[in-house]
Subunit: 249 residues, 2 copies
DNA sequence: CGACAACTTGACGGGCGTCAACCGGAGTGG
DNA sequence: CCACTCCGGTTGACGCCCGTCAAGTTGTCG
């Protein structure tokens, strides 16, 4: 049985819907957009800093990250994405990409023409606002990441990353009782937290020794969710997930 | 002689115009929005994390910063704002503020009803897009800040902050031959770079000793702009200032 | 079973934080 | 006009968190 457009769009429209008020017609209009499905391997670049992409991607399955490089070549991951995320909605209005996007795992992507997304956003203001809002939540997350790498020590940084990832996995329906995939190497965790792989290794061990997490290769089992939040100083409001955090009318 | 609405809006509409295609009518419509002008002292909070502001602010004169706090009370500044910036456009779509905004200097603010801004954005798609685009440039800047605090050492972090500030001051017409105001204490510089005041002090001295900058109280004189950019690893493209970096149609 | 990537561990060093004292200018009040 | 205060800047001593380097070990996939 072949997946329908609605199936493929499901997680994404669900997420957009959570963020605001989309009518059935709006969702219908979104899923009607021509989409080319593409399967890619882990480590594939969707685009790189300096590119001018003509399509944006719905992440249908798998994980991806956005990152930037310093002039002397060290890498900083600035966000991690999972099923249902529309990556680089911002390219609707900014031509040149200021960062790169790369898959962390094998992934299924839905490629949609930026022009058509943009036309739709203009045609249906409520869809445009949903897109805009999605960008705003991204921006809020970047702010939290500035705080994370700027002002928290290594255990708190990693714990915070795990809390965010767990919370978002939960919302995306990718988590079961505190257990979720974390398909990142320790080197990638290091690039996401502004640390080194060696120190990430030691810090993860410490978190495990404290009875906060269990790690079985690429998946994380949060044993003590409250304890982890405490170490992280995690308050999830910056994710703007609940309706209470959103302006609806 | 009293300043007209167009005068007060000048720097802001200029900036929005740089970012896209606004017609004279659009600008007319923006400046026609009812605006309450307010003079405030340095250190005034425009709103705090958790607030649900009903107005957003055009910064007509002066400087401000956005910041977040960790649960144990340390502060991270996530952006700095100057004349012409519309602060917290994002509150058009996100009700609850996820950070605080505080003035760095005495400032003149134009307060505009969020509801009216939002109605205007819906009425005039090109205005809505200009607002959206402005938010996207903010987001791009946050990404660069994640990189800055995550992957650069102290001299590079501070140099980068200076490069960004200088570039934006220039665009806002606040700079004259490499010299611009930097109305921040060393403690605030520390909060913006994820360092401590003591280390900021030493690092500034080092940059001065290298002949890159001169500092006279609250203003910075960049002596060797290229040298500073080199230390910072600064490439300004993330600011999306030139039309080349923008999608126009 | 071999090759390669990812993870692990130890030793060592340095950049930056911490603590604490002191300086200097601006505002304030007597 | 000068003492007082306060805030911001400056300097030194010291220590720790985290980076660096390098050598294993484990896991994975042909």
């Amino acid at each position: 049985m072949k997946a329908t457009a609605a199936d493929l769009w499901g997680p994404a429209t669900q997420k957009l819907g959570r963020l605001g008020t989309l009518t059935a017609d709006d969702i219908q209009a979104i899923t009607a957009l021509p989409m080319k499905v593409r399967e890619v391997k882990a480590g594939t670049y969707l685009f790189r800093e300096g590119d001018e992409p003509s399509h944006c991607c719905v992440l249908i399955a798998g994980y991806a990250n956005r990152h930037k490089l310093t002039t002397d070549g060290s890498r900083q991951i600035v966000s991690i994405h999972m099923r249902g995320d529309i990556i680089d909605l911002q390219q609707l209005l900014l031509t040149t990409a200021d960062h790169s996007v790369q898959t962390l795992t094998a992934a299924t992507l839905g490629m949609i023409s930026i022009r058509q997304m943009k036309d739709l956003a203009r045609e249906r203001p409520s869809v445009g606002e949903a897109f805009w809002r999605d960008c705003l939540v991204d921006a809020s997350t970047f702010r939290e990441w500035v705080l994370n790498v700027g002002r928290r020590d290594a255990p708190a940084r990693i714990a915070h990353l795990l809390c965010e990832f767990g919370t978002r996995s939960e919302s995306a329906g990718l988590s079961r009782n505190g257990k979720f995939e974390l398909p990142m190497t320790q080197e990638q965790l290091a690039d996401a937290t502004g640390l080194t792989p060696v120190h990430v290794n030691r810090t993860l061990q410490r978190l495990r020794a404290q009875g906060l997490i269990e790690r079985t290769m690429r998946s994380i089992d949060v044993v003590d969710w409250d304890g982890l939040k405490l170490v992280a100083g995690f308050r999830g409001s910056y994710l703007h997930e609940s309706m209470g955090g959103l302006r609806n009318s």
